[in-house]
């Protein structure tokens, strides 16, 4: 038998704490695969966020630190600046990165910090019980937008990659989706490019991963992926938004 796909060694044996059907685990596995394939696992420090993936360090087998809510990019800056030989990743959700941590994110990007940001967007605060996030779609019902997000009161969904793509600091900015095998393969391709940006010391990279939250969306896992395709991707279209010279 020839092995076509195999869970990488960088993914630990510890079962995840995520709800059934939550795509966080897919994002973890992609990162683990790439760290092993690119022989980065032992050089890597992952800065984990506050949110559902707060225990991420149990699931990916690298040196790890746990940041305060939103501060991952600042912490990663401190690690990378003092240890440029390390491979530094932040793993952040949309509440963490796009709300409380937006300043740290934008400035790390603007400075061109040599870090990779994996930004998982499921349109709500999952761990705290499904409150409205900056990425919540218009009309979407959450526990703090019980009548649906309404632009006049709550503004519009924040598109972080589009924002970052117009500043000079970042080298590679992309958005992928975890809704289907095809898009998951594409997500891995994008993240690989992002990782190479840091390996080649080119600068800042960020890949947003459109994800789901079956529990708080009150859907089955299949329905939640279907919602990504029908409702989320039209607002958050996938693709590469900034690819500077030298990105391979």
């Amino acid at each position: 038998m020839k092995t076509l796909y195999k869970v990488p060694g960088a993914v630990t044996d510890c079962p995840t704490t995520y709800c059934p059907g939550c795509p966080h685990g897919v994002a973890h596995r992609i990162i683990g695969e790439l760290l092993d394939e690119m022989q980065l696992t032992r050089k890597t420090v992952i800065v984990w966020p506050v949110g559902c993936s707060v225990f991420g360090y149990y699931f990916i087998d690298t040196d790890a630190v746990e940041a305060a809510h939103g501060r991952a990019c600042a912490m990663a800056t401190g690690i990378k600046r003092t240890h440029p030989e390390s491979f530094v990743i932040t793993y952040q959700g949309d509440g963490d990165l796009a709300s409380i941590g937006i300043a740290e994110t934008i400035h790390a990007a603007a400075r061109g910090e040599r870090i990779c940001v994996i930004y998982v967007n499921n349109g709500n605060y999952g761990m705290t019980g499904g409150q409205m996030a900056p990425t919540t779609l218009l009309g979407q019902v959450t526990t703090t937008s019980p009548y649906g997000r309404e632009a006049h009161a709550n503004g519009f969904p924040l598109k972080v990659p589009e924002m970052l793509a117009v500043i000079d600091g970042p080298v590679y900015i992309a958005r992928a989706s975890l809704d289907s095998p095809k898009h998951i393969i594409q997500a891995k391709k994008f993240i690989k490019k992002a990782f190479k940006v840091q390996v080649n010391d080119l600068g800042f990279s960020l890949v947003e991963l459109i994800s789901s939250c079956p529990t708080n969306w009150k859907m089955t896992p299949e329905e939640s992926l279907e919602r990504i395709r029908k409702q989320v991707l039209p607002v958050f279209p996938i693709g590469e938004l900034k690819v500077d010279e030298g990105v391979a």
């Binding site: 076509l4 796909y5 195999k6 079962p15 685990g25 897919v26 596995r29 095998p181 896992p221 299949e222």
Partner: protein, 75 residues
């Protein structure tokens, strides 16, 4: 023939995503219970499996541990 899809039943959370994306519909939720109380997925038709790997790719829990295909015997 050896199995094309290796499942770690203890990690499975019965989310059904692999069953859903399987193009050949060779996976199903079993009626066993794992230690966490989930009914793990199983490959029930190895012959019809094409080792496409969709189940591995969509699995959020690394429960689809490995996907393989038989190596053709060399003449």
């Amino acid at each position: 023939m050896e199995t094309r899809v290796i499942v770690n039943e203890e990690r499975c959370k019965s989310c059904n995503l692999c069953v859903e994306v399987c193009p050949k519909k060779v996976l199903r939720i079993s009626d066993r219970l794992n230690p966490k109380g989930y009914r793990p997925v199983e490959l029930f038709d190895n012959e019809a499996c094409i080792s496409c790997g969709f189940c591995y790719l969509i699995c959020p829990d690394a429960a689809i541990v490995e996907v393989r295909r038989p190596v053709k015997a060399k003449a």
